[in-house]
Amino acid sequence: MKVGYYPGCSLHKVAKEYNRSIFKISEKLGIDLEELKDWNCCGALEVKATNHLAGEGIVARNLAIAEQQGLNSLVAVCPACSYQLIQTNANMVQDSGKAAKINSLMDNKEYTPDSVKPMHYLQLLRDEIGLEKIKELIKPDNPLKGRKGVAYYGCFCNRPSDVIQFEDPDNPTFMDELINVVGAEAQYFPMKTKCCGATQLLVAKPTVETLTGNIIVNALEAGAEFIVLACQMCALAIDGQQKQALKRVGGGKAKIPVLYFSQLLGIGMGLKYKSLGLGSNYVSPKKLMKPIKV
């Protein structure tokens, strides 16, 4: 199956382990990822905050490239990117006047609204691949079997729900199902959709540390041995800032490994530690790699 792949700015270096593991599991699952040629930044929330029209124009350029390459669906793994792509596509479908205005910004490209379906990689896994196919590829004796984990969704995977239309915004369950498929036990985790604030990491660090700290403490109280997430910004806060965040909320000196959902599936499929880039995670997941003694 051929799908367009929009990596986004941070995937090439800041979250290279995410990129690498996504390609590895796609190979196993039979998804042929085709990277967009000459893609540009989606602008996240920041470009729209200063100039709204330009923010929508640069997103539409990426969609137009996908249309030119003849792709029906376009996946992004950064939830902020996938949100921008979905939002701009929806805006252009709803309002044809706006679509014409956005198209007039581009010199040699034009995007026909709704000709490409942008989505997050998780949505592709759920709707096109299905849990059954993933289950067939999982090794029964993988090291995560019997361990306890929590799934953290963050903001843009499901919110705003009227635009994204993926899962129930209050209680999304797909990543919990992925944890269970691998053989680990997904725990009840009340803060799974609370924001970690990572977009403000460079602006208001104390706020981010408080928000992140609360999430980690909640995960530890749920008895989790690892956290699974789907966003490289969340990883930068929950994984990279874990020590400072726990210090801020007085949560002790625990260390909890943070995995991307692609790394979780990769470990379940028996892929090698290095090929999934697990060495690049800030908190080392090495202790997860040995089978637990019963």
Partner: protein
């Protein structure tokens, strides 16, 4: 609990229309003050000043300076939780963005009654947004090392402000040790040229 007195002598009754005319503020007047947004806001939960319901009420009453000069509008982390819970579909996250744009515009206003000063939080956040946009304009994609470096230099004021960057040293060092900092700019001339053209046209349409 004490009752706060609101002085409406200097209220600008046209302020709500200004926000409605801005992109993203269209649904402002639908708000019926149920406070669902405030109850679900993680920033309010962490004990900071942001109170979405109060901000909307202030805008509707026309307390222009109180809103635009407050820290509150700059503390939002943009998580869309209020947008999702709102029974009236007010889309508060987009209203916050509209208010930020109006606040930045008002700092350069020639009309003295409309001129405002950004708070410290506002200056920082706006500086960050600006560096991000400039990085997209310069390279077509963001280059984190350059963007963060310039933000730490300009955002906090040259020369001593840059020293405030020491808070981030542990974070930078962590990224450096894991080889996660890119030292070369993302060179892609086609993306760069076309992004610049889009920015230029959007600016000319906006004016």
């Amino acid at each position: 609990m004490s009752v706060e007195t609101i002085n409406l002598n200097n209220a600008d009754f046209n302020f709500k229309n200004e926000v409605v005319a801005e992109e993203g503020g269209q649904h402002l007047k639908k708000c019926f003050q149920c406070s669902s947004c405030t109850l679900t806001c993680p920033v309010a939960d962490a004990g900071l000043d942001l109170n979405p319901r109060k901000v909307i009420r202030q805008v509707l009453l026309g307390l222009r300076k109180d809103v635009l000069q407050s820290k509150a509008i700059w503390q939002c982390v943009g998580c869309f939780e209020c947008t999702d819970r709102c029974p009236q579909n007010v889309r508060f996250t987009e209203i916050i963005e509209a208010l930020r744009r109006i606040a930045v515009r008002s700092t350069k206003s020639k009309d003295k009654s409309k001129k405002i000063k950004l708070p410290k939080e506002g200056k920082l956040k706006h500086s960050f947004d600006k560096r991000f946009r400039e990085s997209v304009w310069l390279w077509g994609r963001t280059w984190e090392a350059e963007m963060i470096g310039r933000y730490l230099m300009y955002g906090r004021g040259i020369p001593f402000g840059a020293l405030a960057g020491f808070k981030y040293i542990s974070m930078m060092l962590g990224m450096f040790l894991k080889f996660k900092i890119e030292f070369l700019p993302p060179l892609n001339s086609k993306a760069r040229k076309e992004v610049r053209a889009i920015f230029k046209k959007a600016k000319s349409i906006g004016e």
